[in-house]
């Protein structure tokens, strides 16, 4: 066994170990935290890439912790989807970490620097773990790691509203946790195993068998509710706008960019890895149910976003809508649709990450949060605003940005179902992207084409380079992966096929 075969655990351990080292080093010298985190996430990112490469060349990797074979040992299973998620997570975290260097110095009190990075690394570790685990209970544990650290991160500024938002998030998150825990219990009663692969095999024999099938349904229902809360799927999204808008912007970027996607990942794992696709698609129409919910999420989320005056809150509601796109793609359970959903995880991560980082830069430079006050920023912060515009266009799904490609796949997926509901879904996708345009164009118009409120504000005053670089990388990614969509698709497509078993 070479070191390469340990990659699945390495990607999880790097952030987790960093999380332990950070407070110690931070105690000695706070300035060391940021480089440390950047270096470690860079390693995690490289490791994720290597992991993806070996998954692409060798197929699904099963890694048994300590060499114990499942069901006794704990297994890490990295399929295309897991490797894909690892890349997204480590990439966006890396961007957030680079950004944090300047941003945190102003936004947070000095004493909170070390806790901030610790929590960030914990959260990353949790997300990585949830992506690569092959064990249902492990999933739960990793979810708690990421959830609890994210609760704390939301409140880390110590502002009045942030704390309350964090508490609200915590309560709902805890309910979600409890529900998934109950779901796990049911499945364990039925099968006596928690390994996903085993579960899948054993559950298959229980479909439609008297009382057991009822138990199955109850378990599924608990999972759906629990993870829907984590993924902020409408109507269980109520915590998201507060939490995401109140967190520091670097954290908002991670939360909106990937954390809720991990919830989506859990949903996907439950639907397609634990239960069989034919069960959730045909026997009981769970997927079509969540598709409908997702469609409503797209519309309602966008409508809410339109009525916002606060920039970050608007971005948060936009996340509600876009998690709808992702879940819709998953729920369509067709080759194109699921590919689109999975692809959108990546595309939305980049775009929304970029948008939140830009919002952070605006707050950093001007202290403005209100959309109507942004007039004239196009001259003041040209690069930041250009990045904002590109990312916003990607959110709307304008070619040649990445968002268009996911819209294309989602649209194909909706039509591929060949049912009348598919036509409704594509209606929702198209209407959703139009509504998205409405609220993003409002911001862009304000930035570029409006008389600034205070003339003297409009001096060239660009975001510091340390913050600008991640913003520009993300914005560049929105364009590059729109023009070269093959790159993410090379993972997303096999991931969807594997999940659906086609």
């Amino acid at each position: 066994m070479t070191w390469a075969s340990h990659l699945p655990i390495i990607v999880v351990l790097i952030p987790l170990l960093t999380a332990y080292i950070t407070p110690m080093l931070g105690w000695m010298d706070k300035r060391i935290c940021n480089p440390l985190v950047i270096v470690s996430t860079s390693f995690a990112f490289i490791a994720s890439l290597l992991l993806a490469r070996s998954v692409l060349t060798r197929g699904v990797i099963s890694y048994h912790m300590g060499g114990f074979a499942p069901p006794f040992g704990i297994a890490l299973v990295v399929d295309y989807f897991g490797a894909y998620m690892c890349i997204v997570i480590s990439f966006l975290t890396l961007m957030a970490a680079i950004y944090s260097r300047e941003y945190i110095a102003k936004e947070l009190h000095e004493s909170k620097t070390a806790p901030y990075y610790t929590l960030l690394m914990l959260m990353t570790g949790g997300m990585m773990g949830a992506s690569v685990t092959g064990d249902l209970f492990n999933m739960f544990v990793f979810f708690e790691i990421l959830s609890i650290s994210s609760y704390a991160l939301v409140a880390i500024t110590g502002k009045k509203v942030a704390i309350l938002a964090s508490y609200k998030y915590l309560l709902l998150g805890a309910i979600g946790t409890s529900f998934t825990l109950v779901g796990i219990a049911y499945l364990y009663i039925l099968t006596g195993t928690l390994n996903m692969a085993d579960l899948s095999v054993r559950l298959a024999s229980l479909y439609g068998v008297g009382r057991s099938s009822w138990t199955l349904l109850v378990a599924l229902a608990f999972f759906m509710v629990g993870y829907s809360i984590k993924a902020a799927l409408f109507p269980l999204h109520t915590w998201l706008p507060d939490a995401h808008s109140m967190a520091p912007s670097s954290i908002s970027a991670v939360l909106s960019g990937i954390l809720i996607k991990v919830g989506a990942l859990a949903l996907i794992r439950v639907l397609f890895n634990i239960f069989q696709p034919e069960f959730v698609v045909e026997t009981i129409p769970v997927t079509s149910m969540i598709s409908w919910m997702a469609a409503v999420a797209i519309i309602v989320g966008s409508l809410f976003a339109i009525s916002q005056v606060d920039l970050k809150r608007m971005l948060a509601y936009s996340s509600v809508a876009h998690i709808g796109f992702i879940i819709l793609g998953v729920g369509l359970a067709t080759g194109y649709g699921t590919t689109g959903g999975i692809l959108h995880i990546f595309n939305h991560a980049m775009a929304k990450g970029c948008l939140f980082l830009c919002a952070g830069a605006i707050i950093y430079k001007t202290g403005l949060r209100n959309i109507d006050d942004l007039a004239g920023l196009g001259n003041k912060m040209p690069f930041t605003m250009a990045a904002f515009t590109i990312a916003a266009l990607s959110m709307i799904g304008i070619p040649p940005t990445a968002g268009f490609i996911s819209k294309f796949y989602l649209g194909l997926g909706a039509l591929e179902t060949g049912t009348w509901s598919g036509w409704v879904f594509i209606g929702a996708i198209l209407l959703g992207s139009l509504l998205t345009a409405i609220f993003y164009m409002r911001v862009i118009n304000n930035i570029y084409f409006k008389e600034p409120l205070h003339r003297e504000d409009v001096q060239r005053d660009e975001t510091p380079l340390g913050m600008l670089i991640p913003i520009l990388i993300l914005a560049g990614g929105c364009v590059i992966f729109g023009i070269f969509p093959r790159i993410p698709l090379s993972l997303a497509e096999p991931a969807a096929k594997l999940l659906l078993g086609i």
């Binding site: 209970f137 739960f140 544990v141 708690e144 609890i148 609760y151 704390a152 409140a155 110590g158 009045k160 509203v161 704390i163 309350l164 964090s166 508490y167 915590l170 309560l171 805890a174 309910i175 946790t177 409890s178 825990l181 109950v182 219990a185 364990y188 009663i189 928690l194």
Partner: protein, 121 residues
């Protein structure tokens, strides 16, 4: 006809269900943030009990080979208990975080009444 035997035979699950609902009720209805959280704890506890009682086997002994028992000895399934230890740790950390948040909220707002807090926000 209702199978009372079946129902009564699973009394432990009924207790779990009742506790779960009490917890959920408290979380939704109570205005006080601490009471809400107590509701969450009750809910968590019900789940812990659920796990432990499902792992228990009537007449089983704890799964330690030191007893020297043969093949006729029935062991209790240890895994749910192990799992629940982890879950308890999680619950505790959640509780700790929640309580610290509550303290901060009280410091900032001077109240823990959720209605009042919404007004103050």
């Amino acid at each position: 006809m209702v199978n009372f035997g079946f129902l009564l035979g699973h009394y432990n699950y009924w207790a779990v269900v009742v506790l779960f609902l009490i917890g959920l009720y408290a979380m939704i209805v109570k205005k006080n943030l601490i009471k809400k959280f107590m509701g969450l704890n009750i809910m968590d506890t019900s789940i812990f009990l659920f796990y432990i009682s499902m792992g228990d086997v009537e007449g089983g002994v704890s799964p330690i080979i030191a007893h020297g028992g043969g093949s006729d000895v029935i062991y209790v399934n240890p895994l749910p208990s192990v799992l629940i230890l982890t879950a308890i740790v999680v619950a505790i950390s959640t509780t700790a975080l929640a309580l610290s948040l509550i303290i901060k909220i009280y410091e900032e707002y001077g109240t823990l009444d959720s209605d009042r807090l919404v007004e103050l926000m």
